[in-house]
């Protein structure tokens, strides 16, 4: 596969504004990838590398962002004060902003919603919608 270097500055700006992180700070040491308990694939450092290359669509559409549990191990250990967890969270948010939801809320059924903990349902949306 040939990757064409292109800069998607507006999307990157939007992500950086949403997360407060500076993607260019990352120097690709891979400490986040090494410690990720969710074994994300593509891994956090690869996702950030996609962003640095301007391959925003590839990052935002990757399946692995949905396996991030937000344990913040990567952010805690990052030597450059970048928070990969925050970036992945931002990617999720931008994905949801742009994409059509995969779960239709009213199709879940009143009974299910009534019997579930409200907080669990809401936090479930963030991961599985």
């Amino acid at each position: 596969m040939q990757i064409l270097m292109k800069s998607n500055q507006s999307a990157l700006k939007e992500l950086e504004l949403a997360t407060g992180e500076i993607v260019s700070d990352c120097y690709q040491c891979g400490k986040c990838t090494a410690g990720c308990p969710a074994s994300m694939d593509p891994s956090p450092s690869v996702l950030i590398h996609y962003l640095k290359l301007g391959l925003f669509e590839k990052a935002v559409n990757s399946e692995s962002i949905w396996s991030c549990m937000g344990c913040l191990t990567c952010s805690e250990r990052c030597p450059k004060n970048v928070s990969p967890a925050a970036i992945v969270e931002g990617l999720k948010r931008l994905h949801l902003n742009r994409m059509k939801p995969r779960v239709i809320l009213h199709a879940l059924g009143q009974e299910f919603l009534a019997n579930s903990t409200q907080q669990a349902v809401v936090s479930g949306f963030r991961k599985f919608v």
Partner: protein
């Protein structure tokens, strides 16, 4: 009536492009007191200076203004030329019409008007310039070296071989520093001690070098050429001149503590020399741990000593010596492992002394869930060293097994703005490559992995050395390690390979962290003591990063080695020699000349508020008693030591009775300069 000459320089086109220099010269010539004007293309050229000298002689000028570039550039040139022509150099002033006028303006009219104003202001100021004489200072031709590592040793030898007497102050009982701990050195793999110890012996035998080991510098007073050092010689409890270094005492001593020289990997007796080749070979008693001093028991060493040179009653001695120059070579230490994810124990030798005993009781290295087999670079050096705790066999600290798999992690602490230091520690790439080689040479079937981010091998033969390490079966993995955890008797290394983007796990027997090089803990204290500046990490700052890399911010104090920034051995030695040659330059003169632009006190007006004493950053102001001719006390007054005064002018501004003035910048001069300002260009 003053006879002032004004010389307007065109600086090729630099000034003439935006300033009509002929007009400036003409207008300035009309000012009162101006006797001669010139407008010339390059005043700083040889013909320009000749013209300058000739004009002074022919017109018998008593002051000169050169309207040209910044005084930083050519003030010295013209002052020298004036001196040659028989005019006091401090009667020459520069009016800066290049940096502060022609370069920053486009409009020729405005720039010309401004140039006229600047020149006029300087002319007015010059009328009040007093002829000043440079101070002459004697030089004490003795050098003090702080730190007896390789930098201190090299500087001491260079100076002593140039017939300059040298004193070395070393905190530890022996010279040698960190280099003595190393097993082999990159990129040639020659034995560190084999090249260091001959130098140490040379130092100890040199008639012009005196070694103050187990000593610390308490205070440094004075100024370039005339320092007075107060040195505390800690009590060794051994009479140095009688001791033969036979070793009877340290062999018989029944008490042991952790050996700092072996990074805590072995035990040493309480009366000890750090290592067999120690210079001087005189043991010291570690009073904090010796039962004789704690509960007045034992005293075996005194009984076995054939020379009767153990003296338990010895006290610290404080001596004062005079020096002309100081070389600071306090060296480095390794950053402690502060990473919880890397098993972050704090080795006892890196914990504050008070805590050491407590930690030794509560947290021996083999317990408390800490990863004992995670060691740092210097600990690996001791393991690999023939004189180390294992006699050169690489065995892991926990159970003494030969490690089959070793993981080396580069950039621990360095290049880490989160928990470590931001700079690159520079030597780790090289010593990690060396460690893999030492390990391969020692354990032939062993596997070694290096987790790295970038390999920085910019030195003579360095890249070749890395290639050699890689060809000798060291596996380089590009990525960082996230966590080290215990798995059975092994260490589970969770790392990543960023080329494939996958995490990977290795079960290792031992892990070596290439921790960052940081300055000594008390480096900032030393800097404050000496009055030199340091950066945010505690490394001492050089005067100019490129052109004055061995001068500290204070005259007469020079820097050598890793106390100034991370360095490998060749660079350290080069800098030490450079510092030594700077001292030789200083000592090549019988007298030092100092600029006379220092503060002077009007003793009549001084009202003893001592604000100037408080505010002076160079401790140049003292209190003095004023007496009449009969020697009766009249009053107190401030007194400036011209050797120390740097002419910063702080005392001048705080003085409430206006009794301190800065020579060359007196209130009268500055006032005259300001009142001449017409604001034509505003």
């Amino acid at each position: 009536m003053a006879k002032i000459g004004v010389f307007v320089c065109q600086c090729g086109n630099n000034i003439a492009r935006t300033v009509d220099t002929a007009d400036v010269a003409e207008k300035t010539g009309e000012l009162s007191g101006v006797a001669h004007v010139e407008d010339y293309k390059f005043m700083c050229s040889a013909p320009g200076q000749e013209m300058f000298k000739k004009a002074i002689k022919d017109n018998n000028l008593d002051g000169c203004i050169v309207s040209a570039c910044s005084p930083k550039m050519h003030e010295a040139t013209f002052r020298k030329a004036a001196e040659d022509a028989g005019l006091n150099p401090f009667k020459v002033e520069i009016a800066n019409i290049r940096e502060q006028c022609s370069w920053v303006h486009d409009d020729k009219e405005i720039a010309t008007a401004k140039s006229k104003d600047i020149t006029k202001m300087m002319v007015n100021r010059l009328k009040y310039n007093r002829p000043l004489e440079r101070y002459k200072m004697p030089v004490t031709k003795r050098a003090l070296i702080i730190g007896g590592g390789i930098a201190g040793i090299q500087a001491a030898l260079d100076l002593a071989n140039a017939q300059i007497p040298v004193s070395i102050v070393e905190r530890e009982p022996s010279l040698g520093g960190n280099m003595a701990r190393l097993s082999e050195t990159f990129p040639t793999l020659d034995c560190s001690q084999c090249i260091l110890t001959p130098r140490m012996v040379e130092v100890s035998n040199h008639p012009l070098i005196s070694i103050h080991s187990y000593a610390e510098l308490e205070k440094l007073d004075g100024y370039i050429g005339n320092f007075r050092a107060t040195i505390r010689l800690k009590a060794k409890s051994v009479i140095e001149k009688d001791c033969t270094g036979c070793g009877e005492c340290w062999e018989k001593c029944p008490f042991t503590v952790e050996n700092e020289f072996d990074m805590g990997l072995s035990k040493r007796s309480v009366i000890y020399i750090p290592f067999p080749q120690a210079v001087p070979t005189v043991p010291v008693i570690d009073r904090e741990n010796c039962p004789k001093f704690i509960k007045d028991k034992c005293g075996l060493c005194a009984k076995v000593c054939g020379q009767q040179c153990i003296d338990f009653t010895q006290q610290d001695r404080v001596i004062e010596e005079e020096f002309g120059a100081v070389i600071v070579a306090t060296g480095f230490k390794l950053m402690p492992n502060v990473y919880k994810e890397y098993g972050g124990y704090r080795p006892p030798h890196m914990t504050p002394k008070k805590l050491t005993a407590k930690i030794r009781k509560t947290l021996p290295r083999s317990t408390a869930g800490r990863l004992v087999d995670v060691i740092n670079g210097l600990e690996f050096e001791r393991l690999a060293s023939a004189s180390g705790p294992t006699g050169g066999e690489i065995r892991r600290p926990s159970d003494g097994k030969v490690p089959e798999t070793v993981v080396f992690i580069a950039c621990v602490g360095s290049r880490d703005c989160n928990k470590g230091v931001e700079y690159c520690s520079k030597i780790c790439c090289m010593y990690t490559a060396k460690h893999t080689m030492l390990y391969q040479h020692n354990v032939h079937h062993g596997k070694s992995y290096v987790f790295y981010m970038d390999i920085r091998a910019g030195g003579k033969g360095y890249e070749e050395f890395i290639n050699r390490a890689q060809s000798e079966n060291a596996n380089y993995v590009r990525g960082r390690v996230s966590r080290l955890s215990k798995k059975g008797d092994k260490i589970l290394v969770k790392g990543a390979d960023t080329f494939t983007g996958h995490a990977l796990e290795i079960e290792a027997d031992m892990v070596v962290l290439a921790t960052a090089m940081v300055p000594q803990e008390d480096a900032m204290g030393v800097a404050k003591n000496l009055g030199i500046s340091y950066d945010q990490h505690g490394f001492f700052s050089e005067q100019h990063p490129k052109l004055m890399p061995v001068d500290s911010s204070t005259g007469g104090i020079y820097l050598a080695g890793a106390c100034q920034g991370v360095k490998d051995i060749p660079e350290t030695v080069a800098q030490a020699s450079a510092a030594a040659s700077k001292v030789m330059q200083l000592f090549s003169r019988e007298e030092l000349e100092r600029e006379p632009e220092v503060a002077i006190v009007d003793e009549k007006n001084c009202m003893n508020c001592w604000d100037c004493v408080t505010v002076c950053p160079y401790n140049a102001i003292d209190r003095t008693e004023i007496t009449n001719r009969q020697g009766q006390f009249l009053k107190w007054a401030a007194k400036v030591n011209p050797g120390l005064c740097q002419g910063c002018g702080l005392c001048n501004t705080v003085c409430r009775s206006k009794s301190i003035e800065l020579e060359g910048y007196t209130d009268q001069q500055v006032y005259a300069q300001i009142t001449a300002f017409e604001g034509a260009f505003v």
